[in-house]
Subunit: 204 residues, 2 copies
Amino acid sequence: MTTTATRRTRSDGERSRRTILLAAARLATVEGLGGLSIGRLASETGMSKSGLFAHFGSKEKLQLATIGMAEEIFQDEVLGPATQAEGLARVEALCDRFLSHVDRSVFPGGCFFASAAAELDTQPGRVRDRVVSTLRDWVGLFEEAFATARDRGEIAPEADPDQLTFEVNAMLAEANGLYVLHGDPRYIAMARRAIADRLERAAA
Amino acid sequence: MTTTATRRTRSDGERSRRTILLAAARLATVEGLGGLSIGRLASETGMSKSGLFAHFGSKEKLQLATIGMAEEIFQDEVLGPATQAEGLARVEALCDRFLSHVDRSVFPGGCFFASAAAELDTQPGRVRDRVVSTLRDWVGLFEEAFATARDRGEIAPEADPDQLTFEVNAMLAEANGLYVLHGDPRYIAMARRAIADRLERAAA
């Protein structure tokens, strides 16, 4: 109900801003955040360059706003539903929702943040810092959930939350990369199998 | 000895071609293969644009030649030494040499092919096809080595070479990505630990 109410009171300007940013977030996973020029986005959305410039002002501001939109989508698709659970169940839900959002091609180029990180890893600046901070939050969620799982006795007392987070995220990232590259859902299944196996072993 | 002999007989043209391609391969891991313009490379190597154009003719040819150079480097650094061994020892050597070449920043942006795959995943064409084919060869090497290991009884008869290849490569790719992003060697150590653990379990 809240969402509907919010939607109703959104101004035309806010609606068109969201339309542009949705197109931008999807486009960025295919052509990179660096490929997000005002001109390219104008031809993608059918809006005028001057109209887009009025919305965002600079390429960097457009990139940062696009990341904000990708965060909103990721919140709705992955984080919101998964953080209903706690401990080991949260880890499982995060993995499940992440792989599902890749499988359903929520973004045509796979995970927005994996794509952005690969592009920006060697390019210092505010845009890279924002992406790195989102990735840190994601990793932190896993480390915390594994620590809770350990405190609750859901995984062995000697289990290492940082190492488990690394391993589980490796499977998620590999599935994402290979699925986008080859378009073959077997990589999603392989990641599910590897993660189930790893978590089972951590629990033993 | 063969290498020295080959080097001695290389013409000036061949030498300058190699110098350019070395710079191009390193640059491509930072700015992308798409960022490899003749102009950008001219300012990087101090050569004239017209001289570079005479060497390569088109951007696509330059990109393909750059991939060829990256393959040569990867052969010297990783494949050559690792394929001296067979079966499980080959898997271990491939992982060790790969992580070592990341750790030593042979390419400033980490693994050349991981970088290229992330950039080109959604961009059809000859350049993408070439990168995909190199990656397939890499994956094939692992699958074959795991199959040999199984035939020799080095890993359990029920071990799945494709699944093991997926998991081990996930660790390598994650270490590469995080090392380049954060510059922290702990990710290399985490991958080594995860792989040793996984191979030990496959052997049990």
